[in-house]
């Protein structure tokens, strides 16, 4: 009874029309967004999958039943059993343990790309859209040039130049995936640069950087977050593709794409070697897509 009244008073504090402090106003906004997000059940499934990925990655050494590099050549290519839930690979390593440790690599790739590509795109797109003129022309032609390259081929070229490895794969993916974000941010900027609230900011004496950072970027971030989340599935697949081609993570790292590549010689007889990491990629990509769809409903400014 007391806990119920307590929780309802919390809710009243969050949803009040007259917040008393900056923090309360901000939390109230977040709460309203969370309520809208919670109504979308598929999005909640996506969120759970992504959270599960984070938890598995964080607790990998505790969760994995075996060491991911421990070879047992006597037990190679074993089908799923009680000892090895998902079977063993060509070196007799436990596939489940490798998948669990591979979650760390996947999460690292996702996080690094999500922290670089949209940020580069946001800066270039908003500056180009707000400044206009030759700045816009120059930045957008550079963007066009990057867009004209096939993504995976350009990534391959970068990796070939920098040498194979997971860091270089991340750099290659980031460098090839920022142009769509720049385009999106520029389009959003163009729709709001002549709004009265931007004029009002200029009339208060706000400098260009202050307007771009404080007024334009917050309105572009929502659609970029949605786009980034939806693109994360593609990033995982590109990273897996680079791994599959032998240009991403190098053995013995348990990267999911590389694991599929290793299992492809015996894909017909020992299907689980390639299918299990494929299933993991599929589930995580699906999770990010569902999460992105839900976020779009909450964050997209066209919705309100």
């Amino acid at each position: 009874m007391t806990s119920q009244t307590q929780s309802s008073s919390w809710r009243a504090w969050l949803t009040t029309d007259t917040p008393q402090s900056r923090a309360q106003a901000r939390l109230g906004r977040a709460w309203v967004g969370w309520c809208a997000f919670r109504r979308n059940q598929l999005a909640m499934v996506g969120l759970l999958i992504v959270l599960a990925l984070v938890v598995v990655a964080a607790l990998a050494p505790l969760l994995a039943p075996h060491h991911p590099y421990d070879q047992d050549l006597a037990n190679r290519l074993q089908p799923p059993t009680a000892g090895h839930w998902l079977g063993t690979d060509g070196f007799g390593r436990d596939i489940l343990s490798r998948l669990i440790h591979g979650a760390r690599l996947t999460l690292m790739i996702v996080a690094l790309v999500a922290l670089t590509a949209p940020v580069i795109g946001l800066v270039i797109g908003t500056v180009a859209g707000y400044r206009g003129g030759w700045v816009d022309a120059a930045l957008m032609r550079v963007t066009d040039i990057f867009l004209a390259f096939p993504k995976l081929i350009l990534a391959l070229a970068f990796v070939a130049a920098l040498g194979p490895g997971i860091e270089n794969a991340v750099i290659a993916i980031a460098i090839t995936s920022w142009p769509p974000y720049a385009r999106l941010a520029r389009a959003e900027t163009l729709t709001i640069r002549h709004a009265d609230f931007i004029s009002a900011a200029r009339l208060q004496g706000a400098s260009g950087p202050r307007i771009v950072l404080g007024h334009i970027m917050p309105l572009c971030v929502a659609s970029l977050v949605v786009r980034t989340t939806l693109d994360m599935a593609g990033v995982i697949l590109t990273a897996a593709g680079l791994g599959f081609l032998g240009l991403g993570a190098q053995p013995p790292l348990p990267e999911w794409g590389a694991m599929i590549a290793a299992g492809r010689q015996n894909v017909l007889e020992q299907w689980w070697v390639a299918a299990m990491p494929g299933l993991a990629i599929f589930v995580v990509s699906l999770g990010f897509n569902l999460l992105g769809d839900g976020l779009r409903d909450v964050l997209d400014p066209k919705g309100d």
């Binding site: 029309d17 007259t18 917040p19 008393q20 402090s21 900056r22 309360q24 106003a25 906004r29 709004a195 009265d196 609230f197 004029s199 009002a200 900011a201 200029r202 009339l203 208060q204 004496g205 706000a206 400098s207 202050r210 404080g214 007024h215 917050p218 309105l219 400014p301 309100d304």
Partner: protein, 263 residues
């Protein structure tokens, strides 16, 4: 006579586009507004009244002629100090407040830009002055009504303690009852701070309520300057102004038929 006017505009010309597409929106407008005066700019849509205001405020840098504010000649791009003297309130309170900024953030921004002290006190004072209590401070624009939003916009303009307030149809997007509240607020603020105001409106009643003198504009030219007393007496010399006065008193078929185009 030696006192320079607060706002002086000489043969202001504003044109948009180039070559064959060039359109002169404001053509040779000259006017003076004394310190503490409220000056109305009246005209139909497209007459160039808002364009004059945007040139004076510095929002539109493409103009020729001379503009001086507080006796200081203004170039196309303005210094930071200029914005502390001259502020503007926009027509649409739904478009002039950033949708993701709270009232607090909206009001704190100009204080931060100009490096003023006591941001907290200034924000609370400004809110009180426009008739909004401190309970409005942490709301977002979507939690406010149109009239409340316009009050926030006025508070934002006043927080820098300007001497000149440019008003671009500040009431035309509001309900009639809210219009009266905003006009009363503006009149009180003008009396308290001795603000010089330029009010752009197509509504003669609003102009007559707030202003001392007004200018009528048509097709980018200044047709006639008259005092509000003359306006009330219906004492206009130019046929265009007389027609505008008739139009503002309401329509019947005979009045509408008597209207003609003033090119």
């Amino acid at each position: 006579m030696n006192v320079p006017p607060m706002i002086g505009i000489d043969s202001l010309q504003v044109a948009f586009g180039h070559g064959a597409q060039r359109m002169v929106a404001v053509d040779g407008v000259s006017l003076r507004v004394a310190d503490g005066e409220c000056y109305g700019l009246v005209g139909e849509s497209g007459s160039g009244k808002s364009t004059v205001l945007r040139a004076v405020s510095g929002l539109n840098p493409d103009w020729s002629g001379r503009v001086s504010i507080g006796g200081v000649e203004q170039a196309a791009t303005r210094s930071k100090g200029f914005f502390k003297t001259c502020q503007m309130v926009f027509q649409d309170p739904y478009g002039s407040l950033h949708p993701r900024h709270s009232v607090d953030r909206i009001l704190a921004e100009p204080v931060a830009i100009h490096g003023l002290d006591d941001a907290d006190g200034r924000i609370n004072r400004a809110l009180r002055e426009v008739g909004l209590g401190p309970s409005f401070r942490f709301r977002y624009p979507h939690q406010l009504s149109g009239g409340q939003r316009q009050r926030v916009a006025i508070a934002r303009a006043l927080i820098l303690e300007p001497r000149v307030l440019l008003l671009d149809e500040p009431t035309s997007a509001l309900d009639v009852s809210v219009q009266a509240e905003i006009l009363n607020l503006l009149r009180r603020l003008r009396a308290t701070y001795g603000l010089t105001m330029v009010l752009v409106s197509h509504n003669l009643a609003v102009v007559a309520n707030l202003c001392d003198r007004l200018a009528v504009m048509n097709r980018g030219r200044l047709v006639e300057e008259l005092t509000v007393e003359a306006l009330r007496r219906g004492d206009a010399r130019q046929p265009y102004t007389q027609q505008l006065l008739r139009a503002s008193q309401g329509y019947d078929r005979a009045t509408a038929d008597s209207f003609r185009d003033f090119a």
